[in-house]
Symmetry: C2
Subunit: 188 residues, 2 copies
C-alpha cells in the first residue's frame, strides 16, 4: 500500500491535499513559523494527524511541498519592450519576491527537506521562465545570453545572496544582467 504521486483530481485524496495545503498557507500567514505543528494543521484541515504523517512523512516535507507549489510562477514573464527589458523586469521581480520574508522562507523550506525533488522543481520553474525570454529574443533576432549563462550569472548570485548574505538591490540585478548581455564586449 503506497501513496500515489499525483492523486487523481476530484478524488478524496486530492481534496485532502488541497485542504492541507490551504491550512498551511493560512497558518504561515497568520502565526509564527515555529509554532506550526502537524496536529494544528490537521485540526484546521479537518483531517487526522496520521493522514498527514503517512502522506508527507513530517513537517519539513510538508512545508517543502507547499513551498514548491507556491514558488511555481503564475504566468509568463511580462512583455515590456525589448528582450533585455523583459529580462530586467522579470529578474527584478524575481529577486524581490525571493528576498521578501515569505520568499526567503519558502526557499529554506524547499531546501531543508531530505528529498531534493522540490528544490529541483524550483530550478525547473526558473529555467522554464528563462526559456520563454530566450525564445522571444530569438524570434526577434535580438542577441541574448544562453540559459546556462543566465542561471550561473543572474539567478545564482541573486539566490546565493538571499540565502547567505544580504538581498541584492535592483541596481545590482541590472548590473548582473549587463554582465551577461552578449551585445556588449566587456572588458572586466
Amino acid at each position: 500500500m503506497g501513496y500515489r504521486e499525483n492523486p487523481r483530481p476530484g478524488g478524496r485524496s486530492a481534496r485532502v491535499q488541497v485542504a492541507v495545503h490551504q491550512s498551511v498557507r493560512d497558518m504561515l500567514a497568520a502565526m509564527d513559523r515555529a509554532d506550526i505543528t502537524i496536529p494544528l494543521i490537521a485540526q484546521r484541515a479537518k483531517v487526522t494527524p496520521s493522514t498527514i504523517y503517512r502522506r508527507w512523512g513530517g513537517l519539513q516535507e510538508l512545508l517543502a511541498d507547499v513551498a514548491a507549489s507556491r514558488l511555481q510562477p503564475e504566468g509568463e514573464p511580462a512583455r515590456i519592450g525589448s528582450a533585455r527589458e523583459d529580462l530586467e523586469a522579470w529578474a527584478e521581480q524575481y529577486a524581490d519576491e525571493m528576498a521578501s520574508g515569505v520568499g526567503r522562507q519558502l526557499l529554506r523550506d524547499v531546501l531543508s527537506a531530505a528529498d531534493c525533488t522540490n528544490a529541483e522543481k524550483c530550478c525547473t520553474y526558473t529555467r522554464t521562465q528563462l526559456a520563454v525570454l530566450i525564445a522571444r529574443a530569438e524570434k526577434r533576432g535580438e542577441p541574448f545570453p544562453t540559459e546556462e549563462e543566465l542561471m550561473d550569472h543572474v539567478i545564482s548570485p541573486i539566490i546565493y545572496r538571499i540565502l547567505f548574505d544580504r538581498a541584492p538591490g535592483p541596481d545590482h540585478v541590472r548590473k548582473l544582467i549587463a554582465k551577461v548581455m552578449p551585445e556588449s564586449v566587456v572588458k572586466t
Copy 2:
C-alpha cells in the same frame, strides 16, 4: 538565566559543547541522518536531553551549529603558482567538498535553521579565503577579480547548482573563473 554565546574555554559548558558536537559528527558519519534524534545524541555525549534542548533549542539548530563549525576552512588556500592557479585549485576543491554528500548536507543544515547567523558565518568564511587570494594577487601585481565578482560569478553558481541542480564539474568551475579574470577581454 541565559546561556553564554561563547562558553569560557576549559569550563564545564565548553566540555559539554565539545562532547555534543563530537557525538553529532560521529553519528552523522555512522548512521542515517533521519534516525538522529536528540535523546540519542544526548546519550552518546553522556548528557541529558534537556541540556541540549535548553542550549540549542532543537535538532535543527544543533545540526546547523555543528555544520557551520565544520564548514569553517582549516587553513589558507594552498600556494600552487600564479594567483589564478591558486584560485582555480582552491575553487575546485571548494566545489568538490561542497558537492560531496557530506558537504551538501552541511549546507542544508546551515540553511534550514530559523536563525540565519550560521549561514552568514559560512559566507564570511568564504569571503575571508577569497580575501587571502586577492591579497596575494595584489602583492604580486597580478590582475585579479574583486571579491564581489568572485562571490557573484564563481561561488554563487557553484552553490546554486549544488543546492538546486546538479553539482558542477571541474571544467565548469574553470570556465566560471575564466569569465571573471580581468586580463582577458571576453566577448560573451
